[in-house]
């Protein structure tokens, strides 16, 4: 699909561009309008138009054009066409003497639905394809855009990708308007800025950036806007496409742009000075800048007791290390550094390895590959089959391979532990998966020394990363003591008097006195 599109990209663009000149006027004659629309929408069978007459003796001819399914026909009929026909049926209402242009009178006549003017054919056609109805009037060089987009899509529900024990169950949906409403609902503050733009030369997807003015750093907002403007793609199907285009380091395994489906999480990020990027058609919202520490932060941490939250943070950090290092460590221990294994454990290790035809490295490699296959299959399969898959996987991985003497018990335990740990930190799932292999290979060549090399290389890489100007390893490198309170340790929420992420906050927005900035307690203390 992608290949075909890319090959024809330039040709297509030219064609579409030539088809409608952006300054082409709307013809006053309805006949001409019809011909033109037929030309433009040839081969577009879901495009429809209807002609009406209204006014006394049918003196006013109008044409309504729309795309079937995109508009709410009921509203269109009841709120637009019926009032027009009814009100303009009397003579006195329609006289040139009443003043103003006819379309202005139309706007006056329709109350419940949003009506806008369209000056050019280009504008009109764009509105039609984005789901609005167009109303052309005989004798007028302006058309009316009728905002009767039909809202279709999922209900707001709890996201599958991020579940939490406490906190809001509301997740974003595919509809951008609903998503912005969800955010507004939580931040009742005029400083919450939602700026719309369109990305995608073919799809013209609505994308909006969202931030709280005064909390988010101006430079970051500016940078986000600039990077979004630079994006040149045919279509934006998911924020993932935007993410790739605005990342600071496109080839880094570690994400420098965060994403979330949870509304309360996003608002939390906005309050931390992040800029959110929402996109129509996907529930995943991007947040920038994104730091390393955010990967082990979970909204539950802030709702729970601080001690427990700290414990969970540390557990997540350990699981991150385990998911990357464990297979490598095992191979290094068994193949190189038997000396450090206690006697009893060594016997157990040797016993479980007895009769295994593969070296520990090959064994680990195979098992991890099998696990990754299983994971991928589990994601791709239709859900009912997924059940069967997990049973097969458990038996193949756990039982049969051990019974057949292909792998050792211990290796099954190690791969399983690694797998569990890698699921604990979803943002890093790609990074850990690939690094695991790197560590494994290094461990097989140089033992602990190899792991050490890889570890240092990764650390250097992490310290080098930036996300929208903020060092990735903040608050550790550089050490930012204020934010350390929300790193590996979590202090209670009332003690977090500084925002994480953006380091230098300036209270610039002191203009409006009632900007409810008390979303985080003790905000007045921040400098």
């Amino acid at each position: 699909m992608i290949n075909i599109r890319n090959q024809e990209k330039t040709a297509n663009q030219n064609k579409v561009q030539n088809f409608i000149d952006s300054r082409e006027p709307i013809p006053e004659r309805l006949e001409l309008v019809k011909t033109r629309l037929n030309e433009i929408f040839s081969g577009t069978d879901d495009f429809m138009y209807r002609e009406f007459t209204c006014g006394k003796n049918g003196s006013i001819k109008i044409l309504v054009a729309f795309i079937r399914g995109l508009v709410d026909k009921r509203t269109l009929n009841q709120e637009v066409i019926r009032p027009l026909i009814e009100r303009f049926s009397s003579e006195e209402f329609y006289t040139p003497a009443a003043g103003g242009r006819l379309y202005e009178r139309f706007i006056e006549a329709v109350i419940n639905v949003d009506l806008k003017e369209a000056d050019t054919m280009h504008q009109a056609v764009n509105s039609i394809v984005s789901g609005e109805a167009l109303l052309f009037i005989e004798g007028e060089d302006k058309a009316l855009v009728i905002g009767v987009k039909r809202v279709q899509g999922r209900q707001v529900e709890e996201p599958d990708t991020e579940t939490s024990i406490r906190g809001s169950r509301e997740g974003f949906v595919e509809n951008l308007a609903v998503n912005t409403t969800l955010i507004r609902k939580r931040v009742k503050n005029p400083n919450l800025k939602i700026e719309m733009m369109k990305i995608g030369q073919q799809t013209k997807t609505d994308v909006c950036i969202c931030y709280i003015k005064g909390i988010a750093k101006d430079e970051i907002v500016k940078e986000v806007k600039e990077r979004l403007k630079k994006i040149k793609v045919d279509g934006v199907l998911d924020t993932g496409i935007i993410e790739q285009q605005i990342s600071d380091y496109r080839f880094s395994l570690f994400p420098t742009v965060g994403n979330s489906e949870k509304c309360d999480k996003l608002v939390g990020k906005l309050l931390d000075g992040r800029v959110a990027i929402l996109c129509d058609g996907t529930p995943f919202v991007l947040t920038v800048p994104y730091l390393f520490i955010e990967s082990i932060q979970v909204t539950d941490d802030y709702y729970d007791h601080a001690f427990f939250a700290t414990f969970m943070r540390l557990l997540r950090l350990i699981s991150l290390l385990v998911s990357v290092l464990l297979p490598g460590l095992y191979v290094a221990l068994v193949s190189f550094h038997q000396t450090v294994i206690p006697f009893k454990l060594m016997i157990t290790l040797a016993a479980s390895r007895q009769g295994i035809p593969f070296s520990p490295f090959i064994e680990a490699f195979l098992m991890i590959i099998v696990f990754e296959l299983l994971r991928e299959a589990g994601v791709r399969m239709p859900r009912p089959i997924g059940q069967a898959l997990s049973i097969v996987g458990a038996i193949v991985l756990g039982e049969a391979s051990v019974a057949a003497g292909i792998t050792s018990n211990l290796m099954v335990i190690i791969v399983a532990t690694t797998a569990i740990c890698s699921f604990i930190i979803p943002p890093f799932i790609r990074a850990t998966m690939l690094l695991r292999f790197v560590v494994l290979i290094a461990a097989n060549i140089l033992g602990f020394l190899g792991i050490w090399f890889v570890g240092i290389a990764v650390l250097i890489h992490l310290c080098k990363l930036h996300s929208f100007g903020i060092p990735y390893m903040t608050p550790f490198a550089p050490i930012t003591s204020a934010i350390l309170k929300d790193s590996f340790i979590v202090v209670p929420y009332w003690a977090m008097i500084t925002r994480s992420g953006a380091q230098e906050h300036v209270e610039e927005n002191s203009g409006s006195p009632d900007q409810s900035n008390n979303n985080k307690p003790g905000d007045e203390n921040k400098t």
Binding site: S335, F336, Q354
Partner: protein, 394 residues
């Protein structure tokens, strides 16, 4: 966008420093599987009559342990026994270790060795020479226990099979480990032994092991060495006296005779210290100070412990018993072996190095002549749940 700018060369240099520093870490470079080696759980060394070195190794068969999962399993019913014992003769130890591969399938791996048993003949000959390999090789478990076999060859001990532990070496090791509750054998690790060998002013003493039954060993007493050669043995009591003096007693039971029977005193903690007081630039005595905290564990008799005076009396008697034990041990090594296993010479070397340099050669004779000055202080902390011994109320 903020981006650190630095010269590229400096960055690469920094990276190189980081990565190369890792090379300073020592490590094993050869990749080999656990299943490709024989884990030696215990080893024995003996000198044969014709002066050759006889190495006996006990290697573990891990698979057999797994099959006898509870660990109590035996080799019966045709299932393999968890350990295998093999011997080989050679002139040097290293040669023997390689030579034994003619009977064993995989290379020997000494990093997990728990016990090294030295034969009596080897001990009489010279152990220092035999231990050289164990100091020199890099894959040796420095925490392995060393014992000297008395009246029995190491091979016989390693061939003992009983059901207490699937790996006999672990059984042997634990009998030494439980010394913390009895204090009658010296627990000697290879690393300690090596330290003692290098230490001038101290002779070595190694725990003793004997066969006490068909399927049992007994680890009690110590072997006293003089300049690397076996000089003699200390019995259980003397060993305890020695251990009191060198501060190696954790808990032990001291029987104290009183008028109406015996009182078993359990020491809770004991602190021992040796020192050499000097008078007029010459060592005046061999000083030993021991402080004991103890509790009454048993009253085998009909006595009463009703007043503090009785307790004080008991304390004095405990001191006397312990003092006697230490004195016996000291006297024996002084007069019979003239081997300074207490490390008095070390004290002289530490605090009077100039004097030590002069008399280093004659220290053994000097040591044998010096009078003993043994001070024991005992403190009874508890008498247990009852005050008096059990008797009918009349």
């Amino acid at each position: 966008m903020i981006c650190r700018k630095g010269s590229k060369g400096a960055k690469i240099a920094l990276l190189a420093i980081f990565l190369l520093s890792a090379l300073l870490l020592s490590g094993c470079w050869n990749n080999r599987d656990l299943t490709e080696m024989n884990l030696v759980s215990a080893a024995g060394l003996e000198r044969t009559k014709d002066g050759k070195l006889l190495l006996t190794v006990q290697v573990v068969e891990p698979a057999a342990i797994q099959s006898t999962s509870s660990g109590k399993g035996q080799g019966g019913n045709g299932s393999p026994y968890p350990t295998y014992v093999s011997s080989y003769e050679g002139e040097t130890l290293f040669e023997t270790i390689r030579g034994i591969l003619s009977t064993l399938d995989k290379k020997l791996f000494f990093s997990a060795t728990q016990i090294l048993i030295l034969g009596e003949n080897l001990a009489k000959d010279d152990i220092i020479e035999a231990l050289d390999f164990f100091q020199r090789d890099h894959e040796i478990n420095y925490k392995m226990y060393i014992l000297v076999a008395k009246d029995v060859s190491p091979q016989e001990i390693l061939e003992i099979k009983n059901d207490l532990d699937p790996i006999e070496a672990m059984y042997l090791k634990r009998t030494v480990d439980n010394n913390v509750a009895r204090g009658t054998v010296k627990r000697t690790m290879l690393i300690d032994l090596v330290k003692d060998i290098y230490c001038s002013g101290k002779q070595i003493a190694i725990g003793q092991i004997t066969k006490s039954g068909k399927k049992e060993v007994r680890t009690e007493g110590i072997a006293v060495f003089k300049d690397g050669k076996l000089a003699g043995w200390l019995n259980r009591r003397e060993t305890r006296g020695y251990l009191f003096a060198i501060n190696q007693i954790k808990s032990t039971i001291v029987n104290v005779p009183v008028e109406e029977g015996l009182v078993a005193i359990e020491t809770i903690s004991a602190k021992g210290k040796v020192h050499v007081p000097f008078k007029k630039g010459k060592p005046a005595a061999l000083g030993i100070k021991v402080n004991i905290e103890a509790a009454v564990g048993e009253y085998a008799g009909t006595g009463k412990l009703e007043c503090p005076e009785r307790i004080y009396e008991l304390e004095r008697k405990t001191e006397e018993v312990v003092r006697k034990e230490i004195e016996d041990a000291l006297k024996k090594v002084q007069k019979e072996f003239s081997s300074d296993i207490f490390g008095f010479g070390q004290q002289v070397r530490k605090y009077n190095p100039k004097y030590w340099k002069k008399i280093k050669k004659e220290w053994n004779e000097l040591f044998s002549e010096l009078p003993a000055d043994i001070k024991v202080k005992a403190k009874l902390r508890r008498v247990g749940s009852v005050r008096d011994s059990l008797e009918k109320d009349e």
